[in-house]
Amino acid sequence: MPDSVHAIELTVNGEPHEAVVPGRQLLVHFIRDTLGLRGTHIGCDSGNCGACTVIVDGKAVKSCMQLAVQADGRALETVEGLSGPGEEPNDLQAAFTRHHALQCGYCTPGMLMSATALLEQAEELSLDEIRRGLKGNICRCTGYVNIVRAVEDVAARRGLA
């Protein structure tokens, strides 16, 4: 059976995009190779590590675990959308810096996108909810304590704690 191809329309970090994608293309490959947005990382390629986490229609998802064509009509947010080139880091990025919430940095884009969705969807966030909320993201440097502190800090500043 030959590959199917599909015209899709979506917004990427707020900007409308049109593209033609093969039916078998993973969303993460579309983001990195077609859109050229290399902030979204591929870690395990099996849905375990969360390094490829992006936000689709407000929800954090692993972009290696869905097809690009399935993002048709959706609003896609990647780590590049958190703050533009030359702009100040947003409050979450600043908190990651302040709390030393990154070591090698490989998991960071996924952590940031998971935490972004978590903070936006919650009316309040306990420490336990932050920990459970980030369960889908693995930090192989095991820098979890500072990552959770950074998210806790933002939650407090946004009145969610």
């Binding site: 059976m1 030959p2 590959d3 199917s4 599909h6 039916g23 078998r24 293309q25 993973l26 490959h29 390629d45 099996s46 849905g47 969360g50 986490t53 689709v56 929800k59 954090a60 998802v61 692993k62 290696c64 675990m65 869905q66 097809l67 064509v69 399935q70 998971s114 969705a117 978590l118 459970r132 909320g133 369960k135 889908g136």
Partner: protein, 284 residues
């Protein structure tokens, strides 16, 4: 990793989906994709066509049926199940399960229909649905049929769905005022897969009138008839429930592997069964 060559289809109705499944000899239903995409990457499955049912409106519905049962569309995601006011009111244990699966990213994509149709022995929903007496509505070329969850799970990764059939919805019978549900699981980590699971539906008004208990993490979810019979007519005391649970484990047949021996899994399933009945008989 690149997926194998395939064609992707996104039908807009169940009828179109069933027609596509029927027209293609080697088609696979794609919903949340949280297992299927890995199976494709690993070349475990080789479909010619993926039929994406995740946007079919009727499969996304949660609504009450005329008989009071709660109909949950097969493409409802775990996080939608957890957030649904209808599910939380009518079946709080089912809603809670939707909030405690895997992680947030998977809960945003994974569907109850995918969980049921995969029939992974360690999955959360199959033993719960068996205990609840859930019905599964299936659509095929010859129209709709319904099957009991009890008879749906045939073997690991094998269900009573015939080729060309599509799971439409899961029907959860309404709980009576004196019916309660318990669900207990021995997980390897928070919200993770498990070594043993047990679910119970108990009708109790000072005396246990009816009990359905199912164990999970064996090859298929399995009813515990001897335990159920031993519960009926007894007051829901810790001693009576423990005595009945001593009869649990029939037909369970879990695997033994690097994580735990079969004997350990069986012992733990009995503990989970006892706790599930306790949970279903405790005053709220």
């Amino acid at each position: 990793m690149l997926l194998p060559s395939l064609a992707y289809e996104r039908p807009e109705t169940v009828e179109e989906a069933v027609a596509l499944l029927r027209a293609t000899r080697n088609a696979r239903v794609l919903a949340g994709g949280q297992t299927l995409l890995n199976a494709l990457k690993l070349r475990i499955v080789h479909p010619d066509v993926l039929v994406d049912v995740s946007r079919i409106p009727s499969l996304r519905e949660i609504a009450h049926e005329p008989d009071g049962a709660l109909r949950i569309g097969a493409a409802v995601t775990y996080d939608e199940l957890a957030a649904s006011p209808l599910v939380r009111a009518a079946h709080p244990v089912t809603a809670a399960m939707g909030s405690r699966l895997v992680d947030r990213q998977v809960r945003a994509r994974g569907t109850i229909g995918g969980n049921v149709c995969l029939a992974d022995p360690t999955s959360n929903f199959p033993p719960l649905l068996v205990a609840l007496g859930a019905r599964l509505r299936v659509r095929g070329a010859r129209g709709a049929r319904e099957t009991d969850a009890d008879g749906f799970f045939l073997a690991p990764y094998m269900t009573a769905l015939a080729p060309g059939e599509l799971l439409d919805s899961v029907l959860l019978p309404a709980l009576a005022a004196d019916q309660r549900v318990g669900y207990e699981t021995l997980q390897v980590g928070t919200d993770s897969w498990a070594l043993a699971r047990a679910s119970a539906l108990v009708r109790c008004n000072g005396t246990i009138r009816e009990a359905r208990v199912a164990l999970g993490c064996g090859p298929v979810p399995v009813r515990q008839r001897a335990m159920e019979r031993a519960l009926v007519g007894r007051a829901p005391t810790a001693a009576a429930i423990a005595a009945a649970a001593a009869l649990a484990g029939e037909g369970f047949d879990p695997p033994g592997d690097v994580h735990a021996s079969a004997a350990y899994r069986t012992k733990m399933a009995i503990v989970m069964a006892r706790r599930a009945v306790r949970a279903a008989t405790e005053e709220s």
